[in-house]
């Protein structure tokens, strides 16, 4: 059997270069919250595994009538780590400092009005997981969808 394997490999490499294999995509579409009922108690979205991603571009749709009263971005650096709050203040969204992983937003997402859309651009190169914790004093419904991209090919 070893000789058969040897002959098989030899037939491959004799006079023929083995070239690298490329394949797969480098992006994913994401659905993070689908008509999520948000109440006055902090309501987390589903968790996004960003261990293979570099960037997130997300649309936040407030399809209910109530405004948000809190919009917090939480991250984990390791799947066993605790959730850490990165951004929860209005200024984090309206005026992110130079070097912030938050690369842009439509405005202050902590008070996103009912019936309006927002968006955010987030670098996630340092993190393993991301989730959003939402609050609405009046109650509302939130959908978060978008895409994640990597600098390399993603596993299938």
């Amino acid at each position: 059997m070893l000789r058969q394997i040897y002959l098989l490999l030899q037939s491959v490499v004799s006079g023929n270069a083995i070239t690298a294999t490329f394949g797969g995509s480098r992006s994913r579409e994401l659905s993070i919250a689908s008509a999520l009922a948000v109440t006055s108690s902090p309501t987390p979205s589903s968790e996004v595994d960003v261990s293979a991603l570099e960037t997130l571009g997300l649309q936040i749709i407030n399809s209910g009538s109530g405004a948000l009263s809190g919009f917090e971005i939480q991250v984990k650096s390791n799947s066993n780590a605790d959730w850490i709050s990165l951004f929860s203040q209005a200024g984090s969204y309206t005026a992110p400092p130079l070097g912030s992983p938050l690369k842009g937003t439509s405005g202050d997402l902590t008070t996103l009005a009912g019936g309006t859309d927002g968006w955010l651009l987030l670098e996630v190169g340092f993190y393993s997981k991301v989730r959003f914790v939402l609050t609405s004093a009046a109650g509302t419904t939130i959908t978060i969808l978008g895409n994640g991209k990597a600098l390399t090919l993603l596993p299938a």
Binding site: L8, S25, L30, Q59, G104, L145, N147, L153
Partner: protein, 160 residues
């Protein structure tokens, strides 16, 4: 185990070569508008899919006889998402702020004159699709040609 390795290799080898995809692609070019007639009603070009791309370069040729009255770049974050207007002011194009996705423009595209060629470079890292929304100054129609190229930082091949 040896038998399994042999079978695996034998299944892979075809005509003395390992069956591979030799390279992926990192560039796509699309015509978003071809002699696209525009009046005072808002009109939209075709969409450019940038989900797998990082940069987009657009040529916008006003081939008609009227200037544009408005010019906006719209994006989607996901195919199922809504179109969102990101850039529609003169300053967005002729003096984009630091960190803007507008990485360069020939000039103020919101008033692109008749017979003039413009161009626009965009960082599309965070977006899934882009398109242009345009109007003409009056009811006399003008026409646009929009040629786009999208480029990725790495080669890739879509999995069927």
């Amino acid at each position: 185990m040896l038998k399994q390795i042999y079978n695996k290799l034998n299944g892979t080898v075809q005509n003395g070569q390992i069956g591979v995809i030799p390279a992926g692609v990192s560039f796509s070019q699309v015509t978003l508008a071809n002699n696209f007639e525009i009046g005072t009603e808002l009109a939209y070009t075709d969409a450019l899919d940038v989900l797998n791309f990082d940069w987009a370069g657009l040529q916008i040729a006003n081939t008609g006889e009227q200037a544009l009255a408005s010019f906006a770049v719209q994006v989607k974050f996901a195919a199922a998402g809504d179109w969102i207007t990101l850039f529609d002011q003169a300053g967005d194009f002729n003096s984009p702020p630091y960190g803007s996705a507008v990485k360069g423009a020939s000039h103020d595209l919101t008033a692109l004159a008749a017979g003039v060629n413009g161009w626009l470079n965009l960082d599309v890292t965070y977006y899934a699709q882009i398109r242009l929304a345009v109007t003409c100054v009056n009811s006399f129609n003008t026409a646009l040609n929009v040629f786009a190229g999208a480029k990725a930082k790495v080669n890739f091949e879509e999995v069927p």
